[in-house]
């Protein structure tokens, strides 16, 4: 392809959008709506993932032991748990450390009351392992396994929030995938329609081009470029909107729901858009390419 032909095709593609304003506008609007919805779902799913990850880090299974368990057995259990793939960390908390924790958290400012227990640790039977998981979805299976271990008296788990987030995230992923697929199909259809209208409007020009000796490539490419530009514009508009909106919404939510501030961990806009921008651009340009190419092949048998 000659450089002149390349630039000619791009110029014609841009002019097609101008000549075909109404349909181009509708296509860009639909594409924008589609990418906007995609962006919203992407942002929700990504943030939920971040929250789950954060929750997983703080979720611990607590393993208590039968009284009189030997130090060797305690060590064995610790080693065994630490070797499991779903376990991120396994921390032993002695009865002394457990008592210190109780004193700090429940007797703060009332050291006199705590002193009454001096020499008689009320949580003497509370030495335990705190297990942190790398994958919270494995928690139930791990708890069942630990309960069967020799010397284990009781297992506590505290993953309700993480489990709920995981389930909710999965639901949102399925719903968003469904909605996005429908919107993508609509966008392909509308771009195809816009390109069809452009082809009909330029039938005479195309006929002349063919008779003069224009190649298939030269006749078709401006229409494909038109579709790709529509896709590109349709991707950048919602990206700009989402970028402006994101930080404000995060700020608002963080302000309104301070009481669950430890759960609400938002991904930074930079990190989020670092991935979202290329995905949205590829999606927009890709849909534009597919929609226009299908139409051009159907209508322009050169």
């Amino acid at each position: 392809m000659r450089i002149n032909t390349f630039f000619y095709s791009i110029r014609q593609g841009i002019r097609n959008i101008g000549r075909n304003k109404m349909f181009s506008f509708i296509s860009i609007a639909t594409m924008s709506a589609c990418i906007f919805m995609f962006g919203i779902f992407y942002i929700i799913v990504t943030n939920f993932n971040a929250m789950i990850e954060n929750a997983e880090k703080s979720v611990a299974i607590t393993v208590f032991f039968e009284s009189g368990i030997s130090d060797e057995r305690l060590e064995e259990i610790g080693q065994e748990l630490y070797r499991r793939p779903e376990v991120a960390d396994c921390v032993f908390v002695s009865k002394e450390e457990a008592w210190e924790y109780v004193k700090e958290n429940y007797f703060e400012g009332r050291e006199d009351l705590a002193a009454a227990f001096e020499g008689d640790n009320p949580v003497a039977n509370s030495e335990h392992y705190e297990i942190y998981l790398s994958d919270v979805s494995m928690q139930d299976a791990l708890v069942s396994y630990i309960e069967t271990m020799d010397g284990v008296r009781e297992v506590h788990q505290s993953a309700k929030i993480a489990n709920t987030l995981t389930d909710f995230n999965r639901l949102i992923s399925y719903v968003s995938a469904g909605i996005i697929l429908i919107l993508l199909a609509v966008a392909v259809f509308l771009i195809s329609n816009t390109v069809s209208v452009g082809i009909s409007a330029r039938k005479e020009e195309i006929a002349i081009m063919k008779l003069i000796g224009a190649t298939d490539f030269l006749v078709r490419t401006p229409f494909v470029i038109e579709g790709m530009i529509i896709g590109l514009i349709g991707a950048f508009i919602p990206l700009a909107l989402l970028y402006v909106m994101y930080e404000k919404i995060v700020e608002y939510i963080a302000g309104q729901f301070q009481f669950i501030g430890t759960i609400l961990v938002f991904v930074s806009a930079e990190e989020l858009f670092h991935t979202l921008v290329p995905i949205a651009v590829i999606l927009g340009v890709g849909i534009g390419f597919i929609g226009s190419r299908l139409t051009v092949h159907r209508h322009l048998r050169v």
Partner: protein, 227 residues
Amino acid sequence: MITLEHVSKSYSAGIPALNDICLNIDEGEFVFIVGDSGSGKSTLIRLLMKELKPTEGTIIINKQDLKKVRHRHIPKFRRNFGVVFQDFRLLKDRNVYDNVAFAQKVVGESNRNIRKRVPQVLSMVGLAAKYKSYPKQLSGGEQQRVAIARALVNEPKILLADEPTGNLDSNNAWEIMKLLEEINERGTTVIVVTHNMEIVKTMKKRVITIQKGVIVNDSCEDEQDEN
């Protein structure tokens, strides 16, 4: 330059549009093709341009057997021709210069060559001063001159003119025919399809008459017979 050997073309069951046509046009010739509406003239033009495939027979243009020209090579093959139509077929949203330059752009000509060649060809058809005008600002004759300039700008070997004077008054028609004659004198093979028998008789060129898909008269063969 152009050879048709026993060429027939049928669109569907029924009378063939062209039937067993044998024809030879040499390089640099000026040929009129005449015949009534529906006689097969347009089919002949479309066969030459490889817009249609013959049902039977062989067409050889510029030493190329059209059967062997692959689909992807058709655009390059068509660059052998410049085409002029009765209704001019100019792009209404572009001025004279751009209409002519368009033909060069679609074949990938460089901007430098376009800037050099377009004024030359506009000057040749007598429209150098009107290069900024839009088609609707021109008379029918001027529009046809622009169409001829567009057909010539890529320096084709053959100029096909399908009823080039059909929409013009007598004066403009003669001017266009004179222009085509000048083009022919510069070495381009010119084939003119027309109804205008007055022009045909006056110009004294080779005349091929087609009726109901068959060549019923070829003045060139008559001359050869007489000789």
